[in-house]
Amino acid sequence: MRRLLLAMLVGLLGGPAFAQPVKIGDLGILADAPFYIAIEKGYFKEAGVEVSLERFNSAAQATAPLSTDQVQVVGGGVSAALYNAFARGWPVRIAMARTRDWPGYSSDTLVLRNDLKSSVTSAKQLKGKMIAVNTPASVLHFMLARLMESEGLSIDDVSTVNMAWPNMAPGMETKAIDGGMVVEPFATQFSAKNISFPFKRAADFMKSPPLEVSVVLYSKGWTDKNPDQAKAFTLAYLKGVRDYVDAMKGGPKRAEVVDICVKYTSLKDKAMYDKMQWSYMDPNGEISFDGLRDQQDWYAKHGYVATKANIEAMTDRRFLDYALEKLGRAGDK
């Protein structure tokens, strides 16, 4: 009874409707924009959800604390790690889609050294080349493999080396590597510095299914304990997604969204937002299960995933359905 009174009092005072704040694991990248938009524009506050941000270096590093409910929400890159987390029985669930590559909105790019522009014109000519990848068995590694396979070759026909994105620029300048698998803004920044050119973007050759890059992951511990808070969170987050989609397509909210991104992400150069390709987000958060299965099959075939997970069973769309019911479906694709 006392707790109820307290809750009513808190409600009257306009405080958060849920006692526990939601910890979001973020990377400070453009794909995290809906979190930042929902914070800045007060969507979370409207929904009565208090949030805090916890910065990680990579999505793979955030998965372990997500599984132990130390953080409740993470934008998770699709990788062997994600499927292995499912196979290990880690209590994490896919809540909705996040980023993918779509024509015109394709951030994932194979860049090649400028001096190779005339000699390498098709994937066949990549044979024997040294290509840097930031993380093995991740989305960009898979994309490189698919590119090679699109011309009857395989990933074994190129040499790969692991390297962080910023190190790929000196790597190409010293000709230690021939190219690199990068995301934006690196693809555009390297071109601007006359180091490399975008040879192929994921959307150029991966259409059906598209390259599913990341998904929104929820801690199962959290959604079991606080399903209503998870629903409220999702509603606010989806509003952030809609604003992002508007900005991505050059709509009226673009300037505002760019300002928010400059504030929160590591990309501070405002002009770059107009030069580079943004990652595509589905305004309805719909997942391409074919895309996810396609990737899992490849990781399993190449020994990165020992036991395949049932991806539908790892998806909990109750929260997305609630948000879509409240907001309505966005008509366009």
């Binding site: 599984s67 062997a80 290990r88």
Partner: protein
């Protein structure tokens, strides 16, 4: 000799006891196997890694880098340390340099080393050599400096030539401290090598650990960690045996 055997038995038994306790804790659910696999699960993963030849590839890659880097760091380190220990002037000139360069985290300059030495083994060997070099210089210098002055006086009074002074007084006197330095350097170089392989490599135990964690194949990560501990124990044992042979009066 019996004492030595007993010591060795104890040295083997204590890690086994830890493993048994760990397995028991996993079996009764005290340790969550989804995060920390049991020793048996790790052994199985290790076995399959060994069967495919992958483990061997990583171990040899690391051992090669460690051995070459260690020798390239230790030999000049001992020579420079002796010179610094003997000559006050050289010591005065080089001490500040050593003091300034020693604390630099060697992994932090790895990207720079990669520019100079390329992406291959050379950059990893260089990072190991650098971490060994300074520790060896410091220990050798101390070992030589702390030699009793009276030994030199006696040798000089008997008209001992310099090479005999070196072989009979300086080297035997400083060897225990030099070996202490080498033991510390060995541990540090293993740590540095594994960290370097985290950052930029396609092979090696560090790469195995890092890539297994990146893909959440936790069993393989533990295989890597255990292999590092085994390598640490084996290389230290090897150094210890060298010390037994070269400095028998210390036993």
């Amino acid at each position: 000799m019996r004492k030595v055997t007993q010591e060795r038995a104890l040295a083997i038994l204590s890690p086994i006891a830890v493993l048994v306790l760990w397995q028991l804790a996993s079996d009764i659910g005290l340790v969550d196997q989804r995060y920390v696999p049991s020793p048996v699960a790790i052994a199985k993963a290790g076995w399959s890694l060994a069967a495919t030849g992958e483990l061997e590839k990583h171990v040899w890659a690391s051992l090669r880098r460690l051995a070459v880097g260690f020798v390239l760091g230790a030999v000049p380190g001992i020579l420079l340390g002796i010179v610094m220990g003997l000559s006050r002037w050289v010591r005065a000139a080089l001490d500040p340099l050593v003091a300034a360069l020693y604390p630099i985290p060697k992994v932090a300059i790895l990207p720079l080393l990669m520019l100079v030495f390329g992406l291959g083994d050379a950059s990893k060997v260089a990072v190991v050599a650098m971490s060994v070099l300074f520790l060896t210089i410091i220990n050798t210098t101390v070992g030589v400096v702390q030699l009793e002055k009276i030994y030199f006086d006696v040798a000089r009074n008997y008209g001992t030539p310099w090479y005999k002074l070196f072989a009979r007084v300086i080297l035997p006197g400083a060897l225990p401290t030099i070996f202490a330095g080498l033991r510390i350097s060995l541990g540090v170089s293993l740590v540095v090598l594994v960290s370097a392989e985290f950052v930029a490599a396609n092979s090696g135990i560090g790469y195995l650990i890092w890539s297994s964690w990146q893909t959440l194949v936790v069993e393989n990560m533990f295989v890597g960690i255990i292999v590092v501990t085994i390598l640490g124990v084996l290389t230290t044992f090897l150094l210890h045996e060298c010390e037994r042979l070269l400095v028998p009066w210390r036993q």
